[in-house]
């Protein structure tokens, strides 16, 4: 049997710069990198001289597939971009389509979407931080964070029916309203998360091993971060308080009181701390949102996009036809183009949509923060230690689903 399989990548360099150097290949399926990413690194002893980073192992033709489905049918697909905070993707996509349609969502839907986006952000930051801590050997801290994350997933499953890929957003609203007692359980989870986060802070913040591995590792400046397209917690860790929720408020963020935590040095420690502080801010926002949650419908009353209620579909011909047309032909979105960016857990998540007035998009492009961040990841890795690749990479929080699409 011929075992000579073709190589999917062509390395940027094949000859080492010095004869003392060695070129090693890490990944694409390495147990310590979350996500299928391949790093070709030139090493001088334990020191990383230069790196060539390859992604795309999870490419599944997301954007091509989107051109072949109705606007509503894309919601399960966008769920699978950043699957750690799928609701944020849902709401950003729905927001883009709604703006093209000229639909204004109801006040209750607006507050609920904001609340759920922040709730997802907590889960996402916990996943990222837990994994990063575990890679440094902090197993207890990992278990504390994942315990809360699991409670959040169960709680969201209670609302949406799924633990990870919720398909909960709808164009013009949401799939369903909150079940009884959901908000009460939400407050319990927030209280418990605060206790557990306090334990994590106690375990690692001033821990010598943790500081030695994180402080001054993978540091980048604000200018570099902006030049290389960094947004989200990585940009904020460098000291720039740039947050789309504050700068270009969408949903209900303009009505909320919250801070934008920033770091000082832009190193891995700051990225850890910014994420932990953002979890606090998200909890604070959720508590305000619970208090301001208005009553009323969650879906707009607009037959161009909102599915009629099931009892009417079965009971009257007009609703049956509306349902049929919306499912078979899709909502007829007016011709035009739009770019909508939301502050996702990893950074700016942008949807660029082009409609030609049909029930399916003519073009759908996702500006995935993970992908852009990977383009500048060599800044954090080059010049560092081989063992620091994994923690630095973990703090970028590359999510294969959204990076490779």
């Amino acid at each position: 049997m011929d075992l000579q399989l073709p190589n999917p990548v062509r390395p940027a360099f094949e000859q080492p710069l010095s004869e003392d150097h060695v070129i090693v290949n890490i990944g694409p399926s390495h147990p310590a990198t979350h996500g299928t990413v391949q790093i070709i690194a030139e090493l001088d002893g334990e020191k990383v001289v230069r790196t060539d980073i390859h992604c795309g192992y999870l490419h599944r033709g997301f954007e091509k597939e989107c051109e072949d489905h109705t606007w509503h049918n894309l919601i399960p697909y966008v769920d699978r971009l950043n699957y750690c905070s799928a609701l944020i993707n849902d709401f950003a996509y729905c927001d883009a389509v709604e703006r093209l349609l000229g639909v204004e969502i109801t006040p209750r839907c607006k507050v609920l979407r904001t609340l759920l986006a922040e709730y997802s952000r907590i889960a996402d930051h916990m996943t990222c931080t837990a994994a990063a801590l575990m890679e440094l050997g902090a197993m207890t801290a990992f278990l504390y964070l994942v315990t809360i994350r699991d409670a959040i997933y169960e709680h969201l499953a209670n609302l949406t029916g799924a633990r990870l890929t919720y398909t909960y957003g709808r164009i013009g609203g949401l799939a369903r309203d909150l079940p009884d007692g959901w908000l009460k359980r939400l407050e319990e989870i927030l209280d418990q998360s605060e206790e557990f986060l306090g334990r994590v802070h106690g375990l690692v913040d001033r821990n010598r091993i943790f500081i030695d591995r994180m402080r001054n590792v993978g540091a980048i400046s604000t200018a570099d971060a902006i030049n290389w397209g960094y947004t989200g917690p990585v940009l904020r860790s460098t000291g720039a308080a740039r947050d789309l929720r504050k700068d270009t408020p969408y949903l209900a963020y303009a009505e909320l009181d919250f801070e934008v935590p920033v770091g000082i040095k832009g190193d891995n420690y700051d990225r850890y701390y910014v994420r932990m502080r953002e979890i606090d801010e998200s909890s604070h926002m959720i508590r305000q949102l619970i208090d301001m949650l208005p009553s009323g419908p969650i879906n707009v009353d607009d037959r161009r996009c909102t599915l009629p209620e099931k009892q009417h579909v079965y009971g009257e011909i007009e609703s049956l036809i509306t349902h049929f047309k919306l499912i078979m032909d899709g909502p007829q979105v007016p011709a035009g183009e739009i770019y909508v960016a939301h502050e996702a857990a990893n950074g700016e998540l942008g949807f660029y949509l082009v409609s030609t007035g049909k029930g399916t998009p003519y073009k759908m492009h996702v500006r995935a923060p993970s992908f852009v961040h990977l383009g500048g990841a060599h800044l954090m890795l080059d010049g560092g230690q081989l063992a620091d690749i994994v923690p630095s990479f973990g703090q970028i929080n590359m999510i294969g689903g959204e990076c490779d699409r």
Partner: protein
């Protein structure tokens, strides 16, 4: 006059400029893109290059529309540049000299649409693999077409 209005007037070479959904949308000739981006970056603080992609208007001439998005972290505003390039020679100037983030994003656009970015030294496949034939997001690339790198096991 708002910053976007001033930017709109500054880009006098534009074929068309308008503010839509709060974003300044400017259509340019392919040769004017680089100078327009330089002006936007140095004079109007559009320091964050967020995205580049293309739209395949199959059947129209010129066929491809390349679309750039920029964001200003000082003024919190966005601008979208668009230019049309022909099917036979789909090429525009690269922005790698102005923005580091252009490196990966231009590679992706080259993968998906075959747009050549003049001046980008590294247009290796990024989401696709070495030796992939065609550009999958072009409208004439059939969705069902398969070209596995490793033959399927039978």
């Amino acid at each position: 006059m708002s910053m976007l209005e001033r930017a709109k007037q500054r880009l006098a070479s534009a074929q068309e400029a308008a503010i839509a959904h709060g974003v300044l949308v400017v259509k340019l000739a392919p040769g004017d893109v680089l100078s327009a981006v330089k002006a936007l970056k140095s004079e109007f603080d559009f320091d964050l290059f967020t995205d580049v992609t293309a739209v395949d208007w199959l059947g129209q001439k010129p066929r491809f529309e390349v679309v750039w998005h920029f964001y200003s972290t000082k003024h919190f505003s966005r601008v979208r540049l668009k230019t049309r390039v022909p099917e036979l020679e789909p090429a525009v100037d690269s922005l790698v000299t102005l923005y580091g983030s252009a490196r990966f994003m231009e590679r992706e656009c080259h993968d998906m649409y075959g747009i050549a970015f003049r001046g980008n030294p590294d247009l290796r496949p990024i989401l696709l693999y070495e030796g992939f034939k065609g550009h999958p997001l072009r409208k004439d690339y059939p969705k069902q077409q398969e070209q596995p790198l490793v033959p399927y096991r039978t």
